[in-house]
């Protein structure tokens, strides 16, 4: 930045007792940026993608009629872009009905409780490289706090209150069923969600997200290569937390409609917004944890490895910065879109399948992942390069283990079910029908 400007700014800031730049102005600017990107860009885009991309997946055209102005006598529709606006407008202008017997306070509170933790997640995710403004280094992360990932768990698990309260406050049995399902599901997957990242914390020796990203400068040090199984488990658990298809049992549109059945207008809109925000949160988090965040790996011919593309000196720093930001948002967008694809590609789980996947497959695997990673790190005995190799090797072994465990977890109880008639309900392979006594 211009030196004259900097000195002027310093002079001005020198008059105030504290460094307000770092305490107030910079964080507020970062918060506004993130809010603008998430609420202003990804969320409206999500409604559009949800309509248009899913249309393309299902061999439909999707909405394409809304327009505001006509150009040359033809309505200007821009691929149905205005449907996003129409959707938002509809949400805001519809009547907000409240059930007579609802607990009013909690009923209004529930959607907000869902929205806030979803947004708070972004506070600790670095979305760009640290930049230098005058003589200050500004990390592009709203809050670089010590607890890092743990903060995300703490805040993220608040989300379940939203569903639980919404279901309870509605005073509707379908809503309550949805809330029960949501609570059970969230709690089940919360454990895997947390445990999968323990391996990552051990590999990176930190829980701070900025330092995790900084350690992923080498392509081979990306979380996806060090902890491939953790990535699969983490992404699955995160999607289950977000209650989207194939884990949409709390919503279950076809049967119980779900915990937000009584919500209309923007109340429902907030739940939907939360869902979309959480999708971006998952994409942001996965990018930072497993895909090297904002780093751009390049092949270094001299030592035959990938390394951080450190061309800041050769290239105009602003361009380098722009490339890194673009890399980050590219990765985020790919992962974000991937969630839509998964949604429309996979059928739903049944509730017992969901629970079995959570408790019998994902939880043991995440524990095994921790154990194996620990052994690999111990075996490497502090040798960083060796450690990486070991951990990567164990990652592959773990993937194999994962596949095997899925194979064996299918039929949990084969023997012993004859002669124990009362036990049959446990096994969905055996449907038992009680008929007339002979």
């Amino acid at each position: 930045m211009d030196n004259v400007m900097c000195s002027q700014a310093d002079k001005f800031l020198g008059m105030v007792p504290y460094d307000w730049t770092m305490i107030v102005i910079v964080p507020v600017a970062k918060i506004l940026f993130i809010i603008a990107v998430i609420i202003g860009l990804y969320t409206p885009l999500a409604t559009l993608v949800e309509r248009k991309l899913s249309a393309a997946m299902q061999d439909r055209i999707g909405p394409n009629r809304a327009y505001i102005i006509k150009v040359g006598g033809k309505p200007l529709t821009i691929f149905g872009l205005f449907h996003t606006m129409a959707d938002a407008l509809k949400m805001f202008t519809k009547e907000w009905t409240t059930p007579k017997s609802a607990d009013k306070f909690l009923f209004y509170l529930a959607p907000v409780i869902g929205l806030v933790p979803a947004l708070l997640t972004f506070a600790v995710i670095p979305f760009g490289p640290p930049i230098q403004v005058c003589d200050r280094v500004v990390p592009l992360q709203i809050a670089s706090i010590n607890v890092g990932v743990l903060f995300i768990f703490a805040v993220g698990s608040m989300g379940v209150y939203s569903a639980a309260l919404a279901g309870w406050a509605s005073n509707n049995k379908m809503a309550l069923l949805g809330a029960l399902r949501a609570s059970a599901q969230s709690i089940s997957y919360e454990i895997t969600f947390g445990l999968t990242l323990v391996g990552l914390m051990m590999v990176f020796h930190t829980v701070r997200l900025d330092s995790m990203v900084a350690q992923q400068v080498d392509l081979l040090h990306w979380g996806v290569f060090l902890q491939p199984l953790a990535l699969v488990l983490f992404f699955t658990a995160a999607m289950a937390e977000n209650k989207r298809i194939p884990f949409d049992l709390p919503e279950g549109e076809s049967e119980i409609v779900g915990y937000f059945v009584e919500y209309s207008s923007m109340g429902f809109g907030l739940f939907m917004t939360t869902e979309f925000i959480e999708m971006s949160a998952i994409a942001f988090l996965t990018t930072a944890l497993f895909f090297g965040g904002y780093t751009v790996p390049t092949w270094v011919a001299t030592d035959h490895s990938f390394a951080m593309w450190n061309v800041a000196s050769e290239l105009w720093p602003a361009a380098f910065f722009a490339i890194q930001m673009a890399a980050f948002f590219f990765k985020v967008t790919v992962l974000w879109l991937f969630q839509f694809v998964v949604r429309w590609a996979l059928p739903r789980f049944r509730y017992d399948q969901l629970m079995r996947l959570g408790w019998r497959i994902m939880l043991p695997l995440s524990l095994a992942n921790i154990a194996v990673t620990a052994i690999a790190i111990l075996a490497a005995d502090g040798d960083a390069a060796k450690g990486t190799e070991y951990v990567m090797m164990t990652g592959l072994v773990m993937i194999g283990l994962f596949v095997l465990s899925l194979f064996y977890s299918r039929k949990p109880r084969q023997s012993g079910d004859s002669g124990h008639g009362h036990d049959h309900g446990h096994d969905e392979q055996q449907a038992t029908v009680a008929a007339a006594h002979h």
Partner: protein, 207 residues
């Protein structure tokens, strides 16, 4: 305790490969992605078969009859002679005719009002069958236009006359086969030997 009937659920044939979820999930996602890519950038290879209706139209099959119309005489007046055959035949009772005297001395009556309520009509074609004058036809090949008002669904004489049949649309001259045409065609055959067949005069009870 009741008698237990064991019903073994029939699973689809699943081997280790399917049970491992991940490969199958990847395959499913691959299929979805293929559809996305083809539908968005595929050009002619799209899976999407949607027709954007008002702009693009599917041509109806030739045997689709479509909405009714009243056929015109050479001077443009309806061929209808207000005989009420169609309205009598109509099972939906949706034809409303008001007759008036015709100016033409050869024609007794003509319709003052001829309305078909397209909301009530079941498109059975009875009216077409009943008409002795070939005055009402279902050969437009078009469906009834959408309307926002019930009154718009009642097609009057002008609406019915303004519609064209498939023949006219193809630029050909339509041939009408009403009672008039029959009379005209039979006229030159009224030669001395052209008397009516004898069979017609046989008594009905001759078996």
């Amino acid at each position: 305790m009741g008698k237990i009937i064991k019903v073994r659920a029939q699973d689809a044939e699943v081997g280790a490969y399917e049970k491992a979820y991940l490969p199958e999930i990847t395959k499913g996602i691959g299929i979805t992605l293929r559809h996305v890519v083809k539908n968005l950038f595929g050009g002619d290879e799209k899976y999407t078969r949607t027709v954007s209706y008002p702009e693009e139209k599917v041509e109806y099959p030739v045997r689709f009859r479509g909405a009714h119309r009243l056929t015109p005489r050479e001077d443009g007046a309806p061929r209808c002679v207000a005989c009420f055959m169609c309205s009598t035949a109509c099972p939906a009772r949706c034809i409303n005719i008001v007759a008036e005297e015709s100016d033409d001395p050869n024609i007794e009556k003509r319709p003052k009002v001829f309305e078909i309520d397209e909301l009530k009509c079941i498109f059975c074609g009875m009216c077409v069958e009943a008409c002795p004058e070939d005055a009402i036809r279902m050969d437009t090949g078009e469906h009834v236009k959408p309307f926002t008002n019930r009154a718009d669904a009642v097609y009057g004489k002008v609406d019915l006359l303004s519609m064209l049949g498939r023949t006219e649309k193809n630029g050909e001259q339509p041939v009408y086969r009403g009672a008039h045409e029959h009379r005209a065609r039979q006229a030159p055959q009224h030669s001395p030997e052209g008397t009516l067949p004898v069979q017609d005069e046989q008594p009905e009870d001759a078996h």
